[in-house]
């Protein structure tokens, strides 16, 4: 069922390789980078919020101690 005769054919895309692979490449790149960015953003947000929370509890403890 496979339509291509060789891997080189597949890469060449009948002369449209640049356009087809340009499209697929950009898509793969974006779909790989976006989740990574989201995950990284999530991690930094969590550490920041945790630090803020610790600072707040510390401040509260100080207030109640006084």
């Amino acid at each position: 069922m496979i339509h291509w005769n060789s891997f080189a054919d597949f890469l060449a895309m009948g002369g449209y390789g640049f356009y087809v692979w340009g499209s697929f490449g950009a898509t793969v790149l974006i779909m790989a980078i976006e989740p990574i960015m989201v995950a990284r953003n999530r991690k930094t947000t969590i550490t920041r919020l945790q630090r803020q929370m610790r600072a707040e509890t510390r401040a509260e403890n100080r207030n109640t101690a006084e």
Partner: protein
């Protein structure tokens, strides 16, 4: 009054957050499966197009990306309407979580369209109604993100952004029907479930890829909305518990 309270609870971040967390892997997995199947059909099995040669294979990205760019905008407008009407907290967060993905889809539609246009029309870009309105869609996404980022107060940001989404929604039918209303270079609709003008494998490849894009968008948006929830609800008890749990249980 009671009715409203129920709705409020249903859309409560505290219940939605863990639900989203469990759903994400499933959506991601489905997306990968559909993607692989779609690529197999589209890139390896589908025959050459008699008019466009192998160049037509861009369709397997171009059309799903274009569809998703419009669909995500509609979903955001839907959430905006809900948010403005019922003042639910979750809807604004959903809209904000979807926006970057929608913008990327619009960008991909433009990018792949441009790469397709060069060999087919001999130009990277023409000023035709569909292309222009898709470009406007990208601008609307960016405008929405810029507006919500510029407003410090989250709830005001949601309302103002929601209003913008609703005003901009007129653009979506213009994109969709532009090929009918104006006589343009861009090709008209060819997906028609009753009488398909496309080869069977092409059609299936495209539909599978569309599913892949759809599931991908859901997964990414859910990931993003979870972060937004933590940020916005950081003074509530459930977020504090969640954050404390993350320290004890290590990275999740």
């Amino acid at each position: 009054m009671k009715d409203r309270f129920n709705l409020y609870r249903f859309a409560s971040p505290a219940t939605f957050y863990p639900l989203a967390g469990t759903l994400i892997p499933y959506f991601a997995a489905i997306s990968v499966i559909f993607g692989l199947a779609g690529l197999y059909l589209g890139m390896l099995v589908a025959p050459t197009d008699f008019q466009q040669g192998e160049g037509y294979r861009i369709i397997f990205i171009h059309v799903p990306a274009s569809w998703m760019s419009m669909f995500i905008y509609l979903v955001m407008a839907f959430w905006a309407a809900i948010g403005l009407a019922f003042n639910t907290r979750l809807s604004g967060m959903m809209a904000q979580a979807l926006a970057p993905t929608g913008a990327l889809m619009a960008f991909l539609s433009l990018w792949t369209g441009a790469l397709w246009g060069k060999p087919m029309w001999g130009a990277w870009w023409v000023w035709d109604a569909r292309l222009t309105s898709e470009l406007i869609l990208l601008f609307l996404y960016i405008g929405y993100m810029a507006l919500t980022a510029a407003i410090d107060d989250a709830r005001r940001a949601d309302k103002a952004g929601g209003l913008l989404l609703l005003v901009g929604v007129v653009n979506v039918p213009i994109i969709y029907f532009s090929v009918k209303w104006w006589n343009t270079l861009h090709q008209g609709s060819s997906v028609n479930l009753t009488k398909s003008s496309m080869a069977e494998t092409m059609l299936w490849g495209m539909l599978l890829m569309a599913m892949c894009f759809w599931m991908y968008s859901i997964a990414v948006a859910l990931m993003r909305v979870r972060t937004i929830m933590l940020e916005r609800e950081r003074h509530t008890d459930w977020v504090k518990a969640e954050l404390a749990g993350q320290v004890a249980g290590g990275k999740k």
